[in-house]
Amino acid sequence: MAKKITIHPVTRIEGHLTIEVEVENGKVKDAWSSGTMARGFEAMLTGKDPRDASYVTSRFCGV
């Protein structure tokens, strides 16, 4: 019988991360990672002055 381990939140990182691991007989059978927050910077920057991109994309991750 497979056992599912969910780690949420994963701390000491930037952002929101969930890790799910399926373990069967002491071995990892399958695993999933999900970033659970989106802002849509790429879509927002479409049509903007290209010089805005350096300022805005530096706010992807502040760590």
Partner: protein
């Protein structure tokens, strides 16, 4: 153990690359865990006593939505007083995803225990998506729900950074991020709120506000936009700008390559200083070393509610705000001529 050793060496190298002493890093995390009083609390009774003393300090819950954690990093850079001394000695930090040692269920337990107790200072970083809850999920729950759950039991709310105060960059995104003030209003929650805008938050602003709250137990006096009046709202960047004389003389930098223009006013290049009421010119950044205007940059009014959707394009005078500034400039020039 072997695997762990290999991992540690890798991590050590990684930290070394970034100039961080691994030992200090782990020590910091461990000490924070002790103050958080989470996993250890369940296993060692000794820590329980420590937890008791820690809980007498004002509890703080730091939560993040549509954020980049830049405000956390900005706050961590503060030297006077050191961020670690605020976190360890002055407050009882119950939950902070980026610095807490615990992860998963144990971390969530710490959060739920803090909520049960209530009365904490709630520091929030990042915006809350208003277009669709699924843009920010906290585990299986919409982040907005968790945000509201924490806010309901808070004593006071501090919104740090432009995103959290007024929506900032996420407001311009398809997820339509909103600030804490707006989110609380929509949820019908009434709590004292302090906006400490700018992108990222200025460490002095946040530390000063926290210390003010610790000493007086009150929210500091706020300006019309909900920001501490001791830092915001008084003098515009423009009033203290060293290029100001050139603005008054009508000398505007048009060509970066022209040495004659190098000290001229940057309005034509997209500076929003005249509408930016923040104390950067006197407080400066990075321990008072410099700030945007002193290293050839422009002011983008990151501490104002207009940031970012109304100040774009950043590097030309075609934004909504620049046009307004232009109109003011024109009328002041014509007044001078008439006077």
């Amino acid at each position: 153990m072997k695997e762990e050793d290999i991992l540690s060496k890798e991590l050590e190298r990684e930290l070394e690359l970034h100039g961080i002493n691994r030992r200090d890093f782990l020590k910091y995390c461990a000490t924070t865990a002790a103050v958080l009083g989470i996993s250890e609390l369940e296993f060692t009774s000794g820590v329980a006593h420590a937890m008791e003393t820690a809980s007498k300090k004002p509890p703080v819950v730091w939560f993040a939505g549509q954020a980049c954690t830049g405000c956390t990093i900005s706050f961590a850079q503060i030297n006077y007083p050191p961020a670690s001394s605020i976190i360890l000695d002055k407050i009882s930090l119950r939950y902070h995803m980026t610095v807490m040692a615990a992860a998963g269920e144990v971390a969530e337990k710490a959060l739920h225990e803090a909520i049960k107790e209530g009365g904490y200072v709630y520091i929030f970083e990042g915006a809350i998506p208003s277009a669709d809850d699924r843009f920010w999920m906290h585990g299986k729950r919409p982040g907005r729900e968790v945000f509201e759950e924490i806010a309901k039991k808070a004593g006071a709310v501090i919104a740090v950074g432009a995103c959290s105060a007024y929506g900032g960059i996420p407001r311009a995104c398809p997820t339509k991020g909103i600030g804490v003030g707006e989110a609380l209003k929509r949820a019908g929650i009434n709590k004292p709120l302090i906006n400490i805008s700018t992108c990222p938050v200025h460490p002095d602003h946040l530390a000063g506000t926290i210390l003010y709250y610790l000493v007086t137990g009150k929210v500091p006096e706020l300006d019309s936009k909900g920001r501490p009046a001791m830092y915001f709202g008084e003098v515009s960047m423009h009033d203290n700008c060293r290029r100001r004389a050139h603005f008054d003389a009508g000398e505007f930098l048009k060509d970066w390559n022209n040495p004659k223009q190098k000290n001229w006013c940057l309005f034509e290049k997209g500076c929003k200083g005249p509408v930016s009421y923040i104390d950067c010119t006197v407080r400066r950044w990075n321990d008072g070393i410099s700030f945007c205007l002193d290293c050839g940059g422009l002011c983008q009014a990151c501490g104002e509610p207009i940031f970012y959707d109304k100040v774009t394009p950043l590097y030309s005078a075609e934004s909504e705000i620049s046009k307004k500034i232009y109109a003011i400039r024109k009328s002041s020039l014509s007044n001078k001529k008439n006077g």
